[in-house]
């Protein structure tokens, strides 16, 4: 529709309407112009004929008028030829000379006005078009009526006017149709840079920092818009880089003294205080670590052609965490798919996310039980423990920063699941928490399959939302 938000659609509609109007009005205007031009021609021709006839009038010796029409002219006005007729009337309306029989006037009701007057009369089943012209012969005033049979085969001009719509007027319609198509092509061509830009802009994801819109060969009208946007992206990237540098600096500034502290504390002989200090240092270190991971993940994106094998990642996670589980008297198992399950993803980040889930599960599952990491070929990873499970009322909170069920717990920083949620988000995946059959919690991450991603990047309109845990 013309009120559509699309410039192209609007242009097409308005252009279509304008062309329709022109297609209708132009033939009408042409018709009326052609008609008046034809009338004008007629009038001029009649006036010339009248003047010519007047030329043959001369004052007679008796004070009357003589009319001496040459024979070849007389032939022209003859009834047998049937095209022209004339009559010459005096001031009183008396017919002095005429081409008609019975000394008849051509237009008997003529008012004999001082200016030329035109008339149209039926004439032997035909139409006669004529005019009455005042002429001065010496001191006498006469009116010369001349007429022409419009139906005569030699009178072409009126036929053209009459047949205008049929023969000429329709030509505007195909022309307008062609113009419509040509205009559409022109609009498309003119808007092409804009359309191209939109297409490129659509592929930008919110965390893609190094992306700029191309500014070469841009129309002058939209160049400032694109430049402004690129400038905004520059500032954004700079901000991100500053933040990243800051985080790296903070990391360094915090970790080295922590390492010194740790080494000093480790050098103390065992005792209540030493153990407490070790736990404190561990906890501060973990918080610093995870905060830095979160800061690093703020600017994290999965590049479009990066793929990862979920099966392999899960296998690596289980391999790396099995010693921890076994040391705690617990067990761990990898179940489900044994062949590669490929998704679009960053292997390291996924390793981190799944590790966090599995570490949590190992912490919460009771001694003597098994944590299961299951891989579904439909790109789903499930981590199941035999612990107390997560109450429904808390499932929405667990992904929040620093959220801990047990505030006194020293093992948890409350950031592990936030990291998981952020990585899940970056992969356009969803995470849900549920109850395991026979007690315990199940965390499931469902990834888009490789095919879904291809379709998504074509549509790719909405930036991925913060993951809201789908509660099952």
């Amino acid at each position: 529709m013309w009120w559509s938000p699309s410039i192209l659609t609007r242009l097409m509609w308005l252009n279509g309407l304008a062309l329709c109007a022109v297609a209708l009005l132009m033939p009408l205007a042409l018709y009326s112009l052609l008609g008046s031009a034809a009338d004008d021609l007629h009038h001029r021709a009649l006036k010339e004929t009248a003047s010519e006839i007047a030329h043959y009038l001369s004052p007679g010796s008796d004070g009357g008028l003589l009319f001496d029409l040459p024979d070849e002219m007389r032939e022209l006005y003859s009834h047998s030829y049937g095209r022209y007729a004339y009559a010459i009337l005096d001031r009183s309306g008396r017919v002095l000379f005429t081409s008609e029989a019975n000394n008849a006037a051509i237009s008997p009701g003529d008012k004999l006005q001082p200016t030329p007057a035109y008339f149209q009369l039926p004439w032997d089943s035909r139409i006669l078009f004529g005019g009455s012209f005042p002429e001065q012969v010496q001191d006498q005033r006469v009116w010369i009526q001349v007429a022409e049979d419009l139906n005569h085969r030699d009178v072409v001009i009126d036929d053209i006017v009459a047949d205008f719509f049929q023969r000429v007027g329709w030509i505007t319609l195909p022309f307008m149709a062609v113009l419509l198509v040509v205009n559409a092509a022109i609009f498309l061509y003119a808007l092409k840079p804009v359309l191209n830009l939109s297409k490129i802009a659509r592929t930008i994801r919110p965390t893609q920092l190094d992306f700029r819109l191309p500014t070469d060969r841009l129309p002058r009208e939209i160049a400032p818009l694109v430049t402004a946007m690129n400038n905004a992206l520059n500032r954004l990237e700079q901000g991100f880089n500053n933040q990243r540098e800051f985080v790296a600096d903070v990391a360094h500034e915090l970790r080295t003294p922590l390492a010194i502290l740790r080494t000093r504390v480790d050098g103390l002989s065992d005792g209540e205080l030493a153990n407490q200090l070790r736990r404190d240092v561990s906890r501060v270190s973990r918080i610093v670590d995870q905060l830095l991971v979160i800061a690093e993940l703020e600017a994290f994106t999965v590049s479009p052609n990066e793929t990862a094998d979920l099966q392999r990642i899960c296998s690596e996670v289980v391999t790396s965490l099995a010693p921890l589980a076994i040391a705690k008297g617990k067990s761990i198992a990898l179940t489900g798919e044994t062949t590669p399950v490929r998704i679009r993803g960053d292997s390291d980040a996924l390793f981190q996310a799944i590790s966090n889930l599995v570490s949590n599960a190992i912490r919460h599952t009771p001694e003597g039980t098994t944590v299961e990491v299951g891989i579904d070929p439909r790109a789903i990873v499930k981590v199941v423990d035999r612990g107390p499970g997560i109450p429904k009322s808390e499932r929405e909170n667990i992904f929040r920063r620093f959220w801990r069920r047990d505030r006194r717990s020293e093992e948890s920083t409350g950031l592990g699941l936030t990291i998981v949620a952020r990585i899940v988000e970056a992969h356009a995946a969803t995470i849900s928490v549920g109850d395991a059959d026979g007690g315990g919690a199940v965390f499931s991450i469902k990834f888009p399959s490789l095919g879904d991603f291809a379709a998504d990047s074509v549509k790719g309109r909405d930036p991925p939302k913060r993951p809201t845990p789908a509660l099952s």
Partner: protein, 229 residues
Amino acid sequence: MSALQATLLLIEDNRELSGLLVQTLTASGYVVDTATTASQAAEALGKRRYSAAVLDLGLPDRDGLSLLRDMRKQSDPTPVLVLTARGGVQDRIKGLRGGADDYLAKPFETEELIARLEALLRRQGNLVERVVRCGRVAFDSESRQVTFGGRSMVLPPRESTLLEILMRHIGRVVPKRQVEDQLFGVVQPVGSNAVEVYVHRLRKLLADAGAGLEIHTVRGVGYLLGETK
């Protein structure tokens, strides 16, 4: 252990941390040289052969990673344990790709540093170390003889191979595939529970001998040998 004679090069620019680490490592029986810059480190590495190097990535004169790459370019085989304050995921990858043998983020537990160093040295000595010891068990890879707390015996070939693999990776998961390949060869197709049969037999042997070692099954992944608690 052979670690008693091991010489280490500690490349760390923070003198305080460096000093503390020297104390700790020396207490663990290592001979430690220190360097605070990359150029000092390069010089030291040129002068003598170290059993291993501990490399901090944040050095004042040059990035530790570039020093590491140079070492590898000059085919210096010294095992390198990278220490870093950065500790991001990306950094870990860069470190390992740059030729590091292991990676430890600051801050770290002293015990872990020592455990990793030992593992690094053990891995390095894999080919030459004839006798592997875990708990009360010693395995002589040449004579294929197993000693359980002083009592020697010879195990059937597959059980003995399995025990050796597990002992060489004690505390870590050995993938089932790797065990299969080493027990049966890569070409010979085996039933899915063929390995399980030998694991079962070895478990019984270890239990009967009171070896103090236990084989844990990590279902879907592999096996882990641990000391019985």
